[in-house]
């Protein structure tokens, strides 16, 4: 009886899901508000200031996108794993949440062109004696569950055939485990690694190397079938770079220096 009700509920949800086909781009403009999922424990992309207001690169990027659409921005805080349920349940319109554009995920959600690219760093505990990326081989390594670098690192551990991979739930736990010596090393974005080493909250850790991986290109996401909105977001990202706003935001949140190139030589898109 209970099982049949549950199955009926799932079937009902599935049938509702296939009938809804309004264009999100029109809906957003009509509603006057753009609701963005942003991850706020991921400085400098998203965090909160002293008076608890959301700040960061992604927050500003959401505001810019809303301005381009002529609507008000509304930041909805999510964790990395909650981005997709938030999108699917319709509680947000887009996610401006440093989402890595993997092919596997593109089977489920719709990606814009990349709007940012991260370099990843190998951060090791001083006790581990790891001095470069190769030194991680066979050690206990970990990263924040659900991130691009976590997926990469887990693959590495599988290919070594030795060592252990541990996916912690958030950035703070990863660095706590590293600082306690429970982890020998982690891979995280250069921005996050530098920020965490600098705070001094986690003694005994140091950045030892760049991670030998393809840069982590991140994109805006929305529902897979919303081509109108995806097209708008593609052009928007292009305009952000063209007008110099991308470099301006980089300088504001990340620091001096050139922001990463968002184009791949030798290929379209």
């Amino acid at each position: 009886m209970k099982v049949s009700i549950a199955l009926g509920g799932i079937a009902l949800a599935a049938s509702l899901a296939t009938t809804a086909q309004a264009d999100k781009l029109d809906d957003i403009i009509a509603s006057g508000t753009l609701r963005c999922a942003v991850v706020l424990d991921f400085p400098p992309m998203g965090s909160r200031d002293a008076s608890n207001n959301p700040i960061g690169f992604d927050v500003d990027y959401c505001s810019d996108l809303a301005a381009a659409l002529g609507v008000k921005p509304e930041v909805v805080e999510t964790t990395f794993p909650e981005r997709i349920p938030a999108l699917m349940s319709g509680s947000v319109d887009v996610a401006v949440a440093s989402t890595s554009d993997t092919l596997e995920r593109a089977k489920t959600v719709g990606f814009s062109i990349p709007y940012y690219a991260f370099e990843n760093a190998v951060v090791a505990s001083e006790k581990s004696g790891i001095t470069d990326a190769d030194g991680m081989k066979g050690k206990v390594v970990g990263a924040t569950a659900g991130t691009y670098e976590a997926i990469w690192l887990e693959e590495q551990v599988k290919s070594w055939g030795a060592g252990e991979f541990r996916p912690y739930q958030n950035q703070a736990d990863v660095f706590l485990a590293l600082s306690q010596g429970q982890l020998d090393a982690t891979v995280s974005t250069m921005e996050v690694a530098q920020a965490n080493v600098k705070t001094g909250n986690f003694p005994g850790i140091q950045i030892v190397d760049k991670a030998p991986m393809v840069p982590d290109y991140v994109a805006l996401i929305t529902l897979r079938e919303e081509y109108g909105l995806i097209n708008f977001m593609d052009l928007f990202v292009n305009q952000q770079v063209r007008t110099g706003r991308y470099a301006e935001l980089y300088k504001k949140w990340v620091g001096e220096g050139e922001p990463a190139s968002l184009t791949i030589p030798g290929v379209y898109r």
Binding site: A17, M88, S89, G90, T102, E154, Q169, G181, Q182
Partner: protein
């Protein structure tokens, strides 16, 4: 508006991995129950011993285990002990955390069961020449375990469900850990979680139904 197209094939293809995870979940639950029951019996003996120190230890254990979230207990086993240089693997952290919780709850179950056993039985056993210890292990304890058999199976169900908290200590080989890793990779959250929920449901249902049948067979008067 719930806007989502269900695609099950990818999720069903991962079923063998998830079932392996389910096996780890069952292992942890069984081990944590074995440890939990043993400790709970000890705690019960401690509380009856009349020794202030021992009964203090037992009461503190029960109070902490029952009045703080299991999530906190598991987190503290991993990161709390980690702060003192005691590094436990995610598997052990989860196992110890759940066993700690089990022991606290079961000790209270045993206390309730003891209330149902008349004091006169102990006295009768003593008058037959049994020592205090013999009277407890031969007369009182078997009845205590019988009376609390169904509460024990409840705790077993709870232990199965508690394994999903292992995610906070980076556990990734149990049912929930495997499911989470798959959703992180594919973003097919609803499909994987629905399948995991069904597996959890089946495991716990099998436990409760078989416990009830077992009880009906074992405890006929």
């Amino acid at each position: 508006m719930f806007n989502y197209s269900f695609r099950w094939n990818q999720a069903f293809a991962s079923l063998p991995q998830m079932l392996e995870g389910a096996w780890v979940t069952i292992q942890i639950a069984l081990l944590s129950m074995a440890i939990g029951i043993t400790i709970a019996i000890l705690l019960t003996v401690f509380r009856r011993s009349g020794n202030k120190l021992l009964s203090g230890v037992a009461s503190t254990w029960v109070e902490v285990a029952r009045n703080t979230p299991a999530l906190f207990q598991i987190y503290m086993v991993h990161f709390g002990l980690g702060g003192f240089g005691i590094h436990l693997s995610p598997y052990l952290s989860l196992l110890i955390g759940i066993a700690f919780n089990n022991a606290g709850y079961l000790a209270e179950n045993f206390r309730g069961a003891l209330k149902a056993i008349p004091e006169t039985q102990t006295r009768a056993a003593r008058s037959l020449g049994m020592s205090q210890g013999q009277a407890f292990t031969n007369v009182v304890m078997p009845q205590m375990l019988r009376i609390s058999f169904l509460p024990i199976t409840n705790q077993m169900v709870w232990a199965i469900l508690m394994t999903s908290l292992g995610a906070v200590v980076a556990m990734n080989t149990d049912l929930f850990g495997v499911t989470k890793a798959l959703t992180d990779r594919t973003f097919r959250t609803f499909e994987y979680f629905a399948i995991a929920a069904v597996i959890f449901y089946v495991i716990t249902k099998v436990i409760t139904v078989s416990a009830r049948l077992l009880a009906a067979r074992l405890f006929r008067y």
